[in-house]
């Protein structure tokens, strides 16, 4: 593994009283497109928010460039690491350009709000995401896919080497999902940028990720290149379903084909007796 500018050491992450992640180590390989997968409520979004200093760890620490992330000033972090949360709100009536321009905040001061660098960064971000022609449109009027592109442009305008995306494809239909993932792959292609995304769809994750982190109940079950770690055992451990893993006919990456209903029922009944994993996944919300 090469270097890891962003990593967590023994972090425990909790909301109020509920501890979601306990004593977890993870490193995001530089230049990777890291995708975090796992069943609902396994703590994948919590991990992402912890890495982006949205939640203060109850124990352990998150390191950014070998220094605790808490030791940086807020704008300093924002110049190295950008986060697109799960459901950001666009203010009423804001134009795409104004929204993307807000991504420049960590580079600006009260009197310097629109330098040449700012303008270039915004333009490049909008060009890279293909939303320049939407610049003057009201964000509220855009389609779901266009809107997500604008949001990604906003975090791009932050010009950070690290980009964290929390479920960027949720609520989009399949065409827009692929659109957004292709965009992510493009953004990653240069190799200078490290992307971390939480995704729901395991097949999509296998196609696009260079590094996969599989989580379950707040722990990392496996991590590595999708082709090396994804097999039927892993899918059963993580998601509690029986499946076959075959090479994707298009890309050759692992593809999950759930077993037929009869087989699964048979296996499940057998599994339930000895293996708590299957039932746990059902009760977990």
């Amino acid at each position: 593994m090469t270097g890891a500018r962003l990593r967590a050491e023994g972090v425990t992450l909790a909301y109020e009283q509920r501890t979601v992640i306990r004593d977890l180590d993870v490193a995001v390989p530089d230049g990777s497109f890291t995708v975090v997968v796992g069943p609902n409520a396994c703590g994948k979004s919590t991990l992402l928010r912890g890495l982006a200093r949205m939640i203060k760890p109850a124990a352990g620490r998150v390191l950014l460039d070998d220094r605790p992330i808490s030791s940086y000033g807020p704008k300093e972090v924002a110049r190295r690491l950008a986060l697109l949360p799960q459901s950001p709100t666009a203010p009423d009536g804001i134009t795409a350009l104004d929204l993307v321009a807000r991504g420049r905040y960590p580079h600006q001061s009260l009197l310097k709000q629109w330098s040449v660098t700012d303008e270039e960064a915004v333009r490049d971000a909008m060009a890279a995401t293909g939303v320049i022609e939407l610049a003057e449109r009201d964000v509220g009027q855009l389609s779901g896919g266009q809107r997500q592109r604008v949001w990604i442009a906003m975090v791009l305008a932050q010009q950070t080497p690290l980009l964290l995306l929390d479920e960027p494809t949720t609520f989009l239909d399949i065409a827009f999902q692929l659109d957004v993932l292709d965009l992510c792959a493009d953004l990653h292609a240069g190799g200078e940028r490290t992307l971390v995304a939480v995704l729901h769809d395991l097949n999509q994750a296998c196609r696009y990720a260079t590094h996969l982190v599989a989580m379950r109940e707040g722990r990392i079950v496996a991590q590595g290149a999708p082709g090396e770690i994804v097999d039927a055992d892993l899918v059963r451990t993580v998601f509690g379903i029986t499946c076959e893993v075959v090479p994707d006919p298009q890309t050759g990456t692992p593809m999950i084909v759930p077993a037929g209903r009869e087989t699964r029922r048979h296996r499940r009944e057998g599994a339930r007796a000895e293996d708590p994993v299957g039932s746990g996944a059902l009760g977990d919300t």
Binding site: M54, A78, L83, P85, S87, Q113, S115, D124, I132
Partner: protein, 350 residues
């Protein structure tokens, strides 16, 4: 970015010098200028109106010291301070309204509907009843009352700011505090009660330079803080995580701007009593004029000043010689505005 792009962005005019670089929104600038002009014109008209009718020329004469003694007395001694009170108090209310609405990300989160204004009145009444009031006592009482109410509302909400619960909690808090105010008035001797009751209506009658100076000082100190915080409030409007991701210190921004809003409401209410709905309407009307999405502190303040001055002029002239307190005017008109606002939002299906 490796690609170079030649397309220009529709940014509008940009001002760039060695130290400063700003995007200029022509409509915002026009809007602010228009509001300034309206405030000045309305102020001038207000100076001419009254039982003793003056022409604009006579007003200018009085202001420049060339008018008759009587004219000078009427303009400088009576009308100018009243106009000034309306302007500064209205500005304070407008800015405070903008602060609270963007803090709560809710158009309806005005200090009136949330009960802050009533809380300020309660604080001031406690100070009048317990320690005998006085300008300083009333002001401190009003600020403390607003702060306590704000904290109580926040505690009652338990962190959940969204939707209408905010306003429902406000309605309840308002009712409790109004009852408390009634009780306080009842417990005092008659003369204090009369003073307190007349103050509770919200009127500019009999207010003069001391009030102007007090509110103006508050504006000079607090409005720059509000303006400096307004970009951060803008970013908070996109959600806490988003704002934090961009490097905003979310908690500090909240606390500082909340205190600014509370202080402005407290000072304004201490000066003239509770004035309804200016804080609700001013930021929203200002946004309509300037076409911006953010809090727009300057425009909201100017709009507030214009609204309160208009309310007071209307109250004085509508059925002269009878004088309506400005508070009743803003309540009646502001209530209708709220009705319109709700109907419009709900029809749009939000």
């Amino acid at each position: 970015m490796s690609r170079t792009v030649s397309t220009t962005l529709p940014t509008g005019p940009v001002v760039r010098t060695a130290r400063v670089s700003l995007r200029v929104h022509p409509r915002t600038v026009t809007g602010v200028v228009v509001l300034l002009v309206v405030a000045v014109v309305l102020g001038a008209v207000a100076l001419t109106l009254g039982d003793y009718q003056l022409s604009l020329g006579q007003v200018v004469g009085a202001l420049t010291g060339t008018g008759s003694r009587a004219q000078q007395y009427v303009v400088l001694g009576l009308r100018l301070p009243r106009v000034a009170v309306a302007l500064v108090v209205g500005a304070a209310l407008g800015v405070a309204g903008a602060v609270f609405q963007s803090l709560a990300r809710n158009n309806l989160a005005s200090p009136d509907l949330l009960g802050f204004t009533t809380g300020a009145a309660t604080g001031a009444l406690v100070s009048i009843v317990v320690v005998g009031g006085g300008p300083a006592g009333t002001t401190i009482g009003a600020i403390v009352g607003t702060l306590v109410t704000a904290l109580a509302v926040q505690a009652l909400l338990g962190g959940a700011v969204g939707g209408y619960r905010l306003v429902l909690v406000g309605i309840g808090v308002n009712a409790v505090l109004a009852a408390l105010n009634n009780f306080l008035i009842l417990r005092t001797d008659l003369s204090t009660a009369v003073a307190a009751q007349s103050w509770l209506v919200g009127t500019l009658n009999g207010r003069s330079w001391p009030e102007v100076v007090a509110v103006a000082i508050a504006l000079v100190v607090l409005v720059p803080v509000a303006i400096a915080g307004s970009r951060r409030l803008d970013l908070l409007g996109m959600g806490d995580d988003m704002a934090r991701g961009l490097g905003v210190t979310v908690e500090r921004t909240r606390v500082v701007t909340l205190l600014v809003g509370v202080a402005l409401i407290g000072v304004a209410t201490a000066a003239v009593g509770p004035i309804a709905f200016v804080a609700l309407a001013a930021p929203q009307l200002a946004r309509r004029v300037t076409g911006t999405t953010g809090p727009g502190m300057a425009a909201a303040g100017l709009m507030g000043a214009v609204l309160l001055l208009a309310g007071d002029v209307l109250g004085q002239r509508l059925a002269a010689p009878t004088q309506f307190p400005a508070g009743t005017m803003t309540a009646a008109i502001g209530g209708l505005y709220l009705v319109w606002l709700l109907a419009r939002e709900w029809r749009a299906g939000r």
